[in-house]
Symmetry: C4
Subunit: 323 residues, 4 copies
């Protein structure tokens, strides 16, 4: 019973350190993000601008672009008003309010470089402001459109992982921890490498300490992901989990961190994916059902919605437990 002692494996603690014991809290979330907040950066630090703009939700991004467009035009409309609205030829509004909106739309036509020309600047000052505005418009829209395309074309993996990690019967009456995944995208993934890091809490000298072990896999690299890949950690003599029970996993708050790396043929770039399974997401005694069917022509059809489906089965009795 319990976790087997393993050699100290200094490269598998994911940089959390042994002190960071967090009771009942995941270090790595199921969506692959890390459960750590950051402070200590000054408000004006620009380190995270790109990160924020490229990772924010699409609705937020669109609102931001719209808000930026609005604010720039309101700002320049105010400037044209203060210069003197009569410097904009072709203004048709009568009240100040109408004139302001004319200036606003003149600004919009300038910043987007549409420039219909039914309104145009007259005199040195208004001309200068509109010349600067059109330059700013070109640069600002370049940033916005660069971000738009950058977000759209950003290399990233979209992997469907099985909802549960299962403990399944394995070769020669052994057991194995298994999980399964497939590529949600139609791009081809090449040179896949997977790493499974187990973290659990051990009481050392009466003090709970977090331990990290990199689990050995039946296969850690695949040349090409065509269907799905079932990652297998056999519970053999080298495994720290050999004699472990479901209760051990719960008590030790065991978590499996999954790190996946591959080359995406469409993005022409290396992509990464992460996920994690917690003790309560492990199913004991199960076997994955095939996730593919045949179509009429006998071709293989992979059903991404069935990646996590399994059948309950009996596990082979552990020899050690019998003795």
């Amino acid at each position: 019973m319990g976790f087997k002692k393993t050699k100290f494996n200094p490269e598998s603690d994911l940089g959390f350190g042994t002190q960071a014991v967090t009771k009942n809290q995941r270090l790595l979330n199921q969506d692959g993000s890390v459960n750590v907040k950051r402070t200590g950066l000054s408000f004006f630090n620009t380190s995270n601008n790109y990160h924020r703009l490229i990772t924010m939700r699409w609705t937020h991004f669109w609102l931001l672009v719209l808000a930026g467009y609005l604010i720039v035009n309101l700002l320049f409309a105010t400037i044209y008003m203060s210069i003197g609205i009569e410097k904009l030829i072709g203004i048709q509004g009568h009240t100040t309010w109408e004139k302001f909106w004319d200036a606003f739309f003149f600004s919009a036509q300038t910043v987007s470089t549409v420039g219909y020309g039914h309104m145009y600047p007259y005199g040195m000052l208004a001309s200068t402001v509109s010349a600067i505005e059109s330059m700013i418009g070109l640069l600002a829209f370049a940033l916005a459109t660069g971000l738009l395309y950058g977000r759209f074309s950003r290399p990233s993996a979209r992997i469907v992982y099985s909802k549960h990690m299962i403990v399944a019967p394995y070769l020669n009456g052994q057991r194995a921890f298994m999980f399964r995944f497939a590529n949600q995208r139609r791009s081809t993934l090449i040179d896949l490498e997977v790493e499974v890091n187990l973290s659990y809490i051990e009481v050392v000298d009466g003090k709970p300490t977090r331990r990290f072990v990199q689990l050995e896999l039946e296969r850690k690299r695949v040349s090409l992901l065509s269907l799905n890949w079932t990652v297998v950690h056999p519970l053999d003599d080298n495994s720290p989990l050999k004699d472990v029970t479901h209760e051990d996993l719960i008590k030790a708050e065991a978590t499996f961190a999954i790190l996946l790396k591959a080359f995406d043929d469409t993005f022409s770039q290396t992509v990464h994916s992460r996920t994690s399974y917690q003790y309560d997401e492990v199913v004991w005694g199960a076997k994955f059902k095939p996730a593919f069917d045949r179509d009429e022509q006998g071709g293989i059809v992979l059903d991404l919605s069935r990646i996590g489906e399994y059948d309950k089965v009996d596990l082979p009795v552990l020899v050690k437990q019998l003795i």
Copy 2:
């Protein structure tokens, strides 16, 4: 005769799994694509948008851009009509139909930011719509042009492979499986690595099972591809194909999957290429003809159309067969 037993090589099954026995069907197509369809994604899933837009045929891409331009303008023309066409100053049409097309072309001039100005919006509502339209135009064209350039500059390998894999005489009276390829592009390929995976069907306990073996190559890396590269798998004692016959290949539905990886000096990126040879694309007893000539100055001229040319030759008799 038949396939030699080889050590279990867990890293060469290309992720197809042993169950996926597909009678008379290629897993990997000759153009390198994988013979698997995907279902199970909801209609609104966006995972494959980028993939579709970047890999679709050029004619489809152009039609899509044109259609998008048309639809946006039809949509905005309808909006301007419903706002009231009199809000567009400079409209010259008389019938509703003519007016609609005037609105359509005003929209086109706005969305492309040409803005001649012989038509222009009047009043709050029409001005707002046209201001939003020009913003949308800038963003939409940024996506379209980004995709256009992304498609044009996407790093990818264009490799000409020999049409057939040949079984040729090799050093010391041995035989070898060989295929040949060259770079179709004029860019320089650096650090090439090639991997050949054989898959065949074996009857285990009366059940056909797909086996996968990674074949050992005389050379699996080249620093620089200047001419062509003939990849050689010698049929020595380590080869599972040592005593195999043409009939064995057919019966076992043998397929050779080729995975190539290189750094392209023009794209400044790593590129990948895949292809496959099936049992019926193997020529027994052949030798590749040189694919290059000399020009008048004695310089080397590689003829890409002759990469697959071979002469029929006699194969050395296998010693084992004699006994």
Copy 3:
């Protein structure tokens, strides 16, 4: 006492060579830049244009863009003046000066493709110039906006290193050199590798010679950087620094060059970071304080401003010194 002889390690001298003895001068600055100037390139050599434009300060970049816009418009205004200002229809200025500025703003409206149209070219020559100008405008703004977005989205690491390297107590009564760092960005760093190169001056045959040693680390790779990472060089029997004292470091002008490499999940690219610690930035007898807190929900909050904080502690007495 002093530096222990180590095997010649030809891959750790950072390309400085042994001759480059620079008294009291850092080879690698704390910000990771290299302390070497370059000459011998002709004035017209373009090798560094991209480097300069992409690494210059933002204020300089903006000034350059503004200056370019100004100069292009001044230039074209002069051309329009010399063609004959009457070829620009719609000019409203009366004096030559006013006319020049009208030409200037016409140029600005052309180069930014706003084209209001209250001024427009008449006749072959002026039309040709403005057609060329709008083409130049599109290309020039493409370069400017490409650089703008290139600067903004350039993959780079922003790492907070501890201000000091410390000598801390280590396992089994040993000592170790340690420094600590964290990611300033909110992006996830994957597959981190760190390299620590020590350089010091040794007197060989009465001649000061610079020596380089790559220090062995307790761990040189981490799969994922979630909190901070304390890099540890244990002062064991393999270390050239085993019996070294603070005075030895000063006399030998010891410098530790730190090279860090990681994959940034937001940029989807490999990023590098460098820094260095000099003999006077080493604190003897210290221990890093935890840099993270708990928020109300028990979540981990990393405080980037506390990465360098340490407590003074006593160092274990070296056994060798006792004998």
Copy 4:
């Protein structure tokens, strides 16, 4: 005397193959390009479009962009003429020729999206053509500007190699082949790896055959290139060149192909550089002069124009020759 036999090294022939004996001709040029022409692609094959556009000379690129702009406008001017020039309102020319140029400039204003508006289309047909033209203009300029920025920002190494390879005295009375290089760019090169491949002609069974050997280097990797790097191949017992003379090199048409790989910190990408030295570019008995000076503050100043400078020295007499 002569070349020592070495183990067959299948990974160092640069993909030229042993047959390609080219009398008095370099396989790899000094600028790193490969001396091979390609034929056999159909005229309409697009494999090399990107390569051509991204690697052509700047003058050619500018001429191409200008020519494209000209041709598009000539084409559309012809279309407007054939539709009926009276459909362009604001045309001021009287003769057909003048009208054609008016149509030409209207086209230029449309394709660049300037759209002054003193000329504008009237009627369905002319409006449709101009709407399509502005769309084409946006897409075509996107390609042109993408290529412009792509060319400007393309990751590539600019390395200054010493003009000659030298044979210099080395440790313990040995000799060594050496060459030197430095980075022409101000960007930092990280993780440099160098590979030196010797090719020479050997008469096997009376037939000249090209041999390829990868030479062992004193150091083949450097973490950081700060000054210059002198690459050293020691003529020790493992070297095939141990007892070789200048005459041997000439007779065997020996060529040294140099392959360099590094990470450029400004481009944030891996870059490659290649060059070659021929038998007649080897200087026997020489030593590189330091290529750096001190400025007034004692700082190091690297002079890129002096990378190739050497002093003639006597070589140690080979022990074997004495016996």
